[in-house]
Symmetry: C2
Amino acid sequence: MTDFSTEYFTMNEEQAKEYAIKRLNYFQPDAELSCKEIGDGNLNYVFRIVDHKHKDSIILKQAGPVARISDEFKVSPDRNRIESDILKIQYQYVPEHTPKTYQYDPIMNCFAMEDLSDHEIMRNALVKHQVFPDFADHITTFMANTLLLTSDVVMNHKEKKELVKTFINPELCEISEDLVYTEPFYDCERNEVFPATRPFIEKEIWQDEQLQLETAKLKFDFMTKAQSLIHGDLHTGSIFIKEDSTKVIDPEFAFYGPAGYDIGNLIANLIFAYANGKAEIEDEKERHVFTNYLLTTIKDVIDLFKEKFNRIWSQSEIEQVATYKGFQAAYLDSILADTAAVAGLELCRRIIGLAQVIDITSIEDEAARQQAEERCLRAAKQFILQRETFKDGEDFVALVKSSFQ
Amino acid sequence: MTDFSTEYFTMNEEQAKEYAIKRLNYFQPDAELSCKEIGDGNLNYVFRIVDHKHKDSIILKQAGPVARISDEFKVSPDRNRIESDILKIQYQYVPEHTPKTYQYDPIMNCFAMEDLSDHEIMRNALVKHQVFPDFADHITTFMANTLLLTSDVVMNHKEKKELVKTFINPELCEISEDLVYTEPFYDCERNEVFPATRPFIEKEIWQDEQLQLETAKLKFDFMTKAQSLIHGDLHTGSIFIKEDSTKVIDPEFAFYGPAGYDIGNLIANLIFAYANGKAEIEDEKERHVFTNYLLTTIKDVIDLFKEKFNRIWSQSEIEQVATYKGFQAAYLDSILADTAAVAGLELCRRIIGLAQVIDITSIEDEAARQQAEERCLRAAKQFILQRETFKDGEDFVALVKSSFQ
């Protein structure tokens, strides 16, 4: 008999199954359970527990004692409390795109959630060049609701301040501050630079003082701008998808930060998928269909976000001064500038920094990978340096197109 | 025998004396105590307890259950915990300009602090047209240290986030959000407009859509920009002064906000003193001495702040990206823009809004008061609309001079 109520320990599959029987009020008494650890993330153990008799299943997610990304990152298991809390909030705003969660256990640092095994991690689907026509519609519903409804535009300011307090997230923010905002912009030994791209990076990134200055300003924005309760890690690896369903997972990086962070993060990762399609699809027609799908999706993510953001704004009871003439447009412009900037930062950090993406690393031909990386970095620079000029979807698409010519 | 250990109640003078004897480990056993409530603030009861035998004294500050500014503001007594905590932090950085505090009592919501009765509230001294040549030097030491050392430039980012959490201050921030950033900019019934100035306010403030838009952006900055642990109410009524000493008191509005807030607040209140001197001093030579002192002080507050800020920056171990070329200047420019903006907001809110200042209200001649108010408001508009152009002390002084011509 395992004791789950006294002291934290990381569970194995057998213990996770036992936990499900004894501690989760979910399965029926005659359930026939099996359990498998399926985590491929960096910070957690993810157990899938299946009841073969009643064809039901659930996910049990437990925080490891140390972030699995590397022993250098020590991350306290409190992140699972944050994740469980934020999933509840996101579920309240957009139940259709948020997994349902069950009880959080502060001793074992775990919580149970809806099993989405019929979905696939979007990044994996995109490197197989699958397309999801409804994705832009789904994800903009998620972003417009979570980002606007948690901001001072709509939320009672005192309630918002309590949420800011609840979601202060020093350890996970430190990871982003280091990996996204700092290390990619100098020759940090933890970077993982693809040798063929190194000369380009040395000249175009590490020697560009204007670019560095802008990244420093953006880092301070990230550390100080408590605008919206953001997901904090909204790339295509944090999205479960199937044809008619999109679910956003893994919000353990959540905190009050710049609203544009989530949107920019996503845009950059769509560009990685685009770069992969450009490099890896040999058949011209197939390539055209896939890359065109991504350009349309990038455009729609921006434009549908704007449309839904403006619709929610007009339907909500908003902060009095936010009704002043010109404020709504200025506020949205500022989110889009942050979006462009973060798209640029994410493009840089996934190519130069420690945590890379398979969209790029799976390109086996050296010249093709180098070309893909340099194109992404060229776009990245413009996104950061010209961030104030990105006003709608077409502006984002135009830069992607011109960078990949 | 009064019970101080069970339940909060507001003390009278006799009970405060009893509290000092029984709960403060401060006076000697044979002390001969007297106690007087001397509070003239809006939120607290302030008891001065004197030991006549040993010529010693202390201040006991207790939070009232409801803000005394008006029954409309309900402010929880937790603000005294915030005040006691922040005074300890400020004392650690600038002991020479912060009153020493003694134990905080979470039941009675009170704490004891150094008696500064040999000092005078600076606003009261200024309306008597006294000058304090060392003030700019003193207050810039206070501001440069508290604002820079609590920011992400110098402070460890995780420690800073814990302080952000500790000083989330929903109720006091709401007062500033309403009284400083909202009500002065429309015809709010709680405003206290001087009738003679009303036509000017209606035309130049309430009908200026560009001005309103900028105040809305600034309000969102105030609610979201967790830059420095600011005092939050640093006007001349929060400063105890004598010739050779300056002590900053009443930091109950403290929270992580824009660093320029404190500096701008102070600048505006120096301008009120200047307006008072212009209007009230009949002798030309005396008037010149006093108003010149204030112009010099305004200039020095900005320039000495910059100088000390840059010195601390160069002597501290700072955040890596803050060392990038151009960052320090950009960061300081942005603080000065916030300074100008808040100077403008404070000038407006003290003339138009609920909480007025005696520098202005004590001007008995109607035409003179109207002129003083309109000059202040004229400067205020430029401070807000042109905030990016204020780079050094001379820029601030030039606007004051031109507005009062």
